[in-house]
Amino acid sequence: MIEIEDLTVMFGGVRGLNALTATLPEPVTGLVGPNGAGKTTLINVLSGFVRPTIGTVKIDGENLGGIALHKRAAFGIRRTFQNEQVVENLTAGGNVTAVLDNVPTDRRPRRDLIEAALGFVGMIPKLHVMGADLNAYERRLVEIARATVGRPRLVMMDEPGAGLSQDESEHLRSVIKGIHGYCGAQVLLVDHDVDLISATCVATLVLDFGSRIAYGPTTAVLADPRVRAAYLGVAEESA
């Protein structure tokens, strides 16, 4: 459960987020909005990379404000990036191990956890392949595997669907839908691909100019005229 309360972020004079309030309980939630709406800013606040000027964010009832940056992963906040951040000179297994070093393992043997994570995304055959030798989609999957080890609570994905083939897109959808069942984590999905959002997200939050303009079941939200106006503009009544 993500609880955002009156969240405001100022970048100098620009309001990145403007008194945003929202409660997101669904297993997979979409986060959409035109460019500059504040989607990445919101995710950065959750990751801890940006400090809010006012407001709080709570995950499962716990206020994130007091949690140090490097401890958020252990707390359960995980993320995949728009520009993938797979370590090239570690293997796929090594990449997952690197995160496993810093998160709770519940005393289970590490090898099991690594294989489970890579198995979930379908990357077991690439366990010993160096990051440098993985293609773009495989790297995305390794990032997702890294994000699902060790008791994650929230997995945030920043435009994971960009540049994928048809097959890869379908596989990605099934992975995203499966995350909650696999490890119990909520997913917050930022993407411009409306089809991906519709296919995977139960509910969607729409931002524009740092504020919330709509939240609700995905189909209803995407059909909302206010949302359409935000993306496409409003037709001017001729005088």
Partner: protein
């Protein structure tokens, strides 16, 4: 900073392949044999040179750990060698402890020294670390030339007014030949220590940090803590190297630790190849054996400095992987010409 592709960062150590093990075992046996044969075959002068070269290889290893794993440039490692040597001598003369403890003391002291001094810069851009370490080298140079090295006397500085006492050699290695083998063993142990780090938790964290700060933080890595760990490891290695140098020559000269030597150690590590295990060995050889060779031919030692400076420039402009990298590329090219079994090890 992601202009440099991570391909160059593969710390070329054994990859998971059974076939590699056999090759490495054979290389190791040959190396051991060479060390034994060489130590008996060399003249005293060259024996001493190679002892120093081996100790300096450990110094170069300390430079390369920081550079290859984290992209950190430390221009103070040779100065930290001096600090380690100082403490090793002081502890050995003052407390009469076994040689091994003395060099451990040197290692710990150098690690602490390096940390205290480098910590302010570890949070900042790499350029500041390079600058701070250069200044550290300069400051240590003056301190060492002002205070000299302990040689059996009393007082804090341990300077004797009478006859200078040589550092006690290890119990197992009193002769030069034996000491050379001893240093070679310590060299291997140091490589082992580095390997343990690189293949383990610190190595993975360092790789994440190298990828990007964002990657490391999102993965739960405490960046400053792991940078500190790397810096402490590098300081420790440098200190141990200093202790070994002291044991080799028996005493250290207060004028032998100018800041320019720290720069040369860094330069030669790059030239030798910071990203490969061979690099530090090549660097150690160049730093000691090359000037010794020039000496044999009665050529001015300054020529070495010029060559090293030019070598650094050349390496940076054309061959960032250094000599070791070029050797590996050549080996790879040769293997491509003669395709052996499929899946042959790298």
């Amino acid at each position: 900073m992601s202009d440099v592709t991570d391909e160059t960062l593969t710390y070329s150590l054994p990859v998971d392949s059974r076939k590699v093990r056999l090759k490495w075992l054979m290389t190791a046996l040959v190396a051991v044999g060479a060390v034994y044969v060489l130590s008996d075959a060399m003249s005293n002068y060259w024996l001493r040179t190679f002892i120093s070269a081996a100790a300096l290889a450990i110094g170069s290893l300390s430079v390369s750990v920081l550079f290859a794993q984290l992209g950190m440039v430390s221009l103070a490692q040779f100065a930290l060698l001096g600090v380690g040597g100082w403490f090793a001598l002081r502890v050995s003369h003052g407390l009469g402890v076994p040689f091994e403890l003395a060099i451990l003391a040197g290692g710990v002291a150098a690690a602490a020294f390096g940390l205290v001094v480098g910590l302010p810069a570890l949070r900042m851009r790499g350029l500041y670390l390079a600058i701070i370490t250069l200044m550290m080298a300069g400051a240590i140079q003056v301190l060492i030339s002002a205070f000299g090295f302990p040689d059996g006397g009393a007082g804090i500085l341990g300077k004797s007014t009478g006859a200078r006492v040589m550092m006690a050699r290890p119990f197992l290695a009193q002769t030069d030949e034996a000491y050379f083998r001893y240093v070679a063993v310590v060299l291997v142990l140091c490589y082992g220590l580095v390997l343990l780090h690189v293949r383990g938790r610190p190595g993975r964290a360092w790789a994440m940090i190298r990828r990007s700060e964002v990657c490391a933080l999102a993965g739960g890595v405490h960046i400053v803590a792991y940078k500190v760990w790397a810096f402490a490891l590098a300081g420790f290695l440098a200190g141990v190297a200093g202790g070994l140098l002291a044991g080799g020559v028996g005493q250290l000269d207060g004028s032998a630790f100018p800041a320019s030597q720290s720069i040369m150690l860094f330069a030669l590590t790059i030239v030798g190849g910071a990203y490969s295990w061979m690099g530090p060995l090549i660097a150690g050889l160049m730093l000691r054996a090359f000037p010794a060779l020039l000496n044999d031919f009665h050529v001015d030692g300054n020529i070495a400095t010029i060559v090293f400076g030019a070598g650094l420039l050349h390496a940076l402009m054309t061959a960032p992987k250094g000599i070791a990298g070029q050797l590996q590329d050549a080996a790879k090219a040769l293997r491509a010409k003669f395709p052996g079994k499929p899946g042959a090890a790298r």
